[in-house]
């Protein structure tokens, strides 16, 4: 597979705050990549590096094999971008924005733009100042995808979109882009969305990559097992291989990375037994990892 995006040991500071710390990422053609993390985890900072809007303090960023800071025109011409801020010019009408953007992209597909506008029900004669937050997001999405970019970068595309638009249209757009053999990188707070749409996920926490890999593999690496003890426990049991343990009394829910057999042995040593086990969701994995990280920080 061809590598479209290559981020190698990227670090970035804002004053004394570490925004990105030794982050690496590779994006191949025809896949959907999700960036997940809490507020301030570094998702938008990473995306801005991909677009050349930020200069790496350390490390390397290559998009289409080019440095986006040194060669912004060649990179940005092949990228569709929807910013988190949706900072579109308020005075422009939608029709004007479409024409303005079309001038920059010879590959503009007017029929596709028209179809999306119809799907969203957007009035092209309206100014952006007259549009709601959701409509702005929709308009921004049309402008980002209508030139059929090789790489679509969406920063929190779901914010402002209602659940119907999100599930019906955003999913359809992303699917279309990928079916065309193009690549999508998007950041989101909505983990069910990432789980549903992404082939690959990168979980960022405090500027570092906490978990990274194909969604199915990441999920398969983590299991949630229900553990039952014969006696009531007053405190959280210590179980080797557990990322997080929640519950009380006799029933505890354990999220773990260890193989099920290893956990079964560890639980048995504590006097308990596994009564049920399933693959964890991305949300459970993220929450467990964030809590663990916070606990470690507090302990330190």
């Amino acid at each position: 597979m061809t590598t479209l995006v290559e981020v190698d040991a990227l670090s970035r500071r804002y004053g004394s705050t570490i925004a990105l710390d030794n982050v690496s990422l590779k994006a191949e053609v025809g896949l959907v990549y999700g960036l997940v993390g809490a507020n301030g985890a570094g998702k938008t900072t990473l995306i801005k590096h991909l677009l050349g809007l930020l200069r790496p303090h350390q490390g390397k960023v290559r998009v289409f094999g080019l440095d986006p800071v040194r060669d912004p025109v060649a990179v940005l011409r092949r990228v569709g971008y929807l910013s988190e801020q949706r900072d579109l010019p308020e005075w422009m009408r939608l029709e004007e924005l479409l024409r303005y953007t079309r001038a920059y992209h010879p590959s503009w597909d007017q029929a596709y733009a028209d179809q999306l506008l119809e799907n969203f029900g957007l009035d092209r004669s309206k100014r952006f100042s007259d549009l709601s937050q959701g409509m702005r997001a929709q308009a921004g999405l049309v402008v980002a995808v209508a030139h059929r970019p090789d790489l679509l970068v969406l920063d929190e595309p779901s914010s402002g979109l209602d659940v119907v638009v999100r599930q019906d249209i955003l999913d359809a757009i992303v699917r279309t882009v990928v079916e065309d053999g193009r690549t999508v990188i998007f950041s989101s707070h909505l983990l069910d969305e990432v789980q549903r749409m992404c082939d690959h996920v990168t979980v960022l926490h405090e500027g570092r990559v906490a978990v990274q890999g194909p969604v199915d593999e990441v999920r398969a690496m983590h299991r949630v097992s229900q553990v039952r003890f014969p006696k009531h426990l007053d405190s959280t049991p210590a179980i080797e291989g557990a990322l997080s343990i929640a519950g009380d009394g006799r029933s505890w829910s354990v999220l773990h990375t260890a193989a099920l057999e290893s956990l079964r042995e560890a639980v048995a040593q504590s006097g308990g037994e596994i009564v049920e086990s399933r693959i964890a969701t991305l949300e459970e994995i993220l929450i467990a990892r964030l809590r663990r990280s916070n606990r470690q920080r507090q302990a330190a």
């Binding site: 809007l53 940005l76 024409r99 920059y104």
Partner: protein
């Protein structure tokens, strides 16, 4: 005791502390240097100017338009306190920004500087400015109120007569030594100021109560509320949104450059042209007024109007585009697939063309209006005079216009570069600029007072003669090495500069500059490199904020 009033004052302090510490500190340093040399009157003027600058800038708090602490609307605090506490802070801070440096200089150098009256006036001015800017969110109303406030400030100074003990300004400057008698207010004057502040406070409290209730909210459809153009809001925003609404044409999609020119013209060029056209219409009326009143004031106003297109053009354009995000350049613009040099070149070109065109309109209007002055009737008709001038100067006139246009473009480009540096190194640039201005002021004062030899000026001029070519080479090298400037763009710039240089040499020779003193002639020659320096430094500095 931590009360809402104290918390509000603390918040006001947090928002203004940097400038409040920096400006008086620099003014004190400057005043101290001057007072030690006996020029305490000059020290007084510098302290007063710094205090006025503080009084004008403090009330904005560097936040949003209208009442700056509007985020406190949701807090459990009475409107009377919410307005009163920051207003008291603004008064005290502006007064202290004069009082403390002046008191320090009185103690340290013995300079007999006036204290309380000048400090009170400074505080009162700050309250007046706060009154004009806090009461409404409407940009146009705010501008009108600001003008009214300045007029009122003038009336206040005239009515109170704080400088009545100084016969004339000329005499005051010839005295060299300041005196507490220089600025005096009577008890009645103080009462009048207290009354004025009370009235302003009531007015602001009433207006802020309306803002708090949402009665003063502008419609969400109002473009001046738009994020890109916006939240700070000013008269330019009103003009811009009106222009864009009324004079709109189809965006060309034939090429990126055509689309970008449309963008620049619609948003930034058109308002400048409209301002130029409106002022061109006003100029004949001003000339007629001058003729009727036999006063020079209308002529001075007419001359001052020429600064409006420049301020409007430079103030609004060149990546000074405001946006809601904290990005130095809005992502919408920074993520355009177009090179930084092309983008900034186009922005400078559109701004320059529009300012130049506005000036041309105004100049033609002035030229055609001159016969309205009885004193100029003897000069004949404007058409005949123009033909005479063209016949006499011909090509030189054209080369003068070309050189003037290039110099204007250079100035705009260099201002854009300074703004970009300020964007990437805000505090350092500000401190550097203030230090440079102070250095120049002190140097000029030192030469004027005879403390240093005039040859020092020559040394500075020679330093500039060396610095300009060196800076040009370094900046072009950086832009080329960073890939910001392509070889082709560089070659085009060199070609255009060659033409400019030839025309400039010719004009300098004609003006007799080549026969001037060595340093001055060398500086004039070196200055012809400035357009080339702008070609390097402007895209390079803007790439610093585009790729922060």
């Amino acid at each position: 005791m931590w009360t809402p009033a104290v918390a509000t004052i603390w918040e006001s302090w947090r928002l203004t502390r940097r400038r409040l510490l920096l400006v008086p500190a620099l003014a004190t340093l400057c005043g101290w240097l001057l007072s030690r040399r006996g020029a305490s009157l000059l020290a007084f003027v510098i302290l007063l100017v710094a205090a006025i600058a503080m009084a004008l800038s403090l009330p904005s708090f560097g936040t949003r338009p209208a009442f700056p602490l509007s985020k406190s609307f949701a807090r459990p605090i009475r409107t009377a306190v919410l307005v009163g506490a920051p207003l008291a802070y603004v008064f005290a801070a502006a007064a202290a920004s004069y009082f403390l440096p002046a008191a320090f200089l009185r103690v340290a150098t013995g300079a007999p500087l006036p204290l309380l009256p000048a400090a009170t006036l400074s505080g009162a001015l700050a309250v007046l400015v706060a009154g004009s800017s806090w009461v409404t969110r409407d940009a146009t109303e705010r501008t009108g109120l600001a003008i009214a406030a300045y007029i009122l400030a003038g009336v206040m100074v005239k009515f109170l007569g704080p400088f009545r003990y100084v016969a004339t300004v000329t005499r005051a400057f010839s005295v060299k030594v300041a005196s507490p008698q220089l600025c005096v207010l009577s008890a009645l004057d103080y009462l009048a100021i207290v009354f004025l502040i009370g009235v302003i406070y009531l007015g602001i409290a009433f207006a802020v109560a309306r803002q708090r209730r949402g009665d003063d909210e502008l419609s969400s459809a109002d473009p001046s509320l738009g994020r890109s153009g916006s939240d700070r809001g000013d008269i330019m925003e009103s003009i811009r949104s009106t222009c864009v609404g009324v004079l709109r044409w189809r965006c060309p999609d034939s090429s990126p450059m055509a689309a970008q020119i449309w963008f620049e013209m619609q948003l930034y060029g058109l308002p400048v042209l409209v301002i130029g056209a409106l002022l061109a219409l006003c100029i004949p009326a001003l000339i007629q007024w001058a003729d009727n009143s036999h006063s020079a004031i209308p002529l001075v106003i007419a001359a001052c109007t020429f600064s409006a297109p420049f301020l409007a053009g430079v103030g609004a354009s060149i990546w000074n585009r405001r946006n809601a995000s904290r990005d130095k350049v809005p992502a919408f613009e920074a993520a355009r697939p177009v090179g930084t040099a092309e983008l900034i070149g186009l922005q400078v070109l559109v701004t320059t063309v529009c300012i130049f065109a506005a000036w041309m309109l105004m100049a033609v209007s002035l030229w055609l209006s001159l016969p309205l002055l009885a004193e100029l009737h003897q000069y004949g008709s404007p058409g005949a005079r123009a033909a005479q001038l063209i016949h006499r100067y011909g090509v030189r006139l054209l080369s003068g216009v070309t050189v003037g246009f290039t110099l204007l473009a250079t100035l705009i480009a260099l201002l854009a570069a300074i703004r970009a540096f300020a964007g990437s190194n805000g505090m350092r640039t500000l401190v550097g600029a203030v230090a440079l201005v102070l250095y120049i002021v002190v140097l000029m004062a030192a030469v004027a007072q005879g403390w240093v030899d005039a040859a020092v000026i020559d040394v500075h001029l020679w330093a500039l003669v060396v610095a300009i070519p060196a800076g040009t080479l370094i900046m072009l090298g950086k832009a080329l090495a960073g890939g910001i400037l392509t070889r082709r763009q560089m070659a085009t710039a060199m070609l255009a500069w060659s033409l400019f240089a030839v025309l400039s040499f010719d004009l300098l020779r004609t003006a007799g500059m080549m026969n001037a003193a060595g340093a001055l002639a060398a500086l004039a020659l070196a200055a012809t490199l400035l357009p080339l320096m702008a070609v390097g430094i402007t895209p390079w500095s803007l790439s610093l904020i585009r790729h922060a």
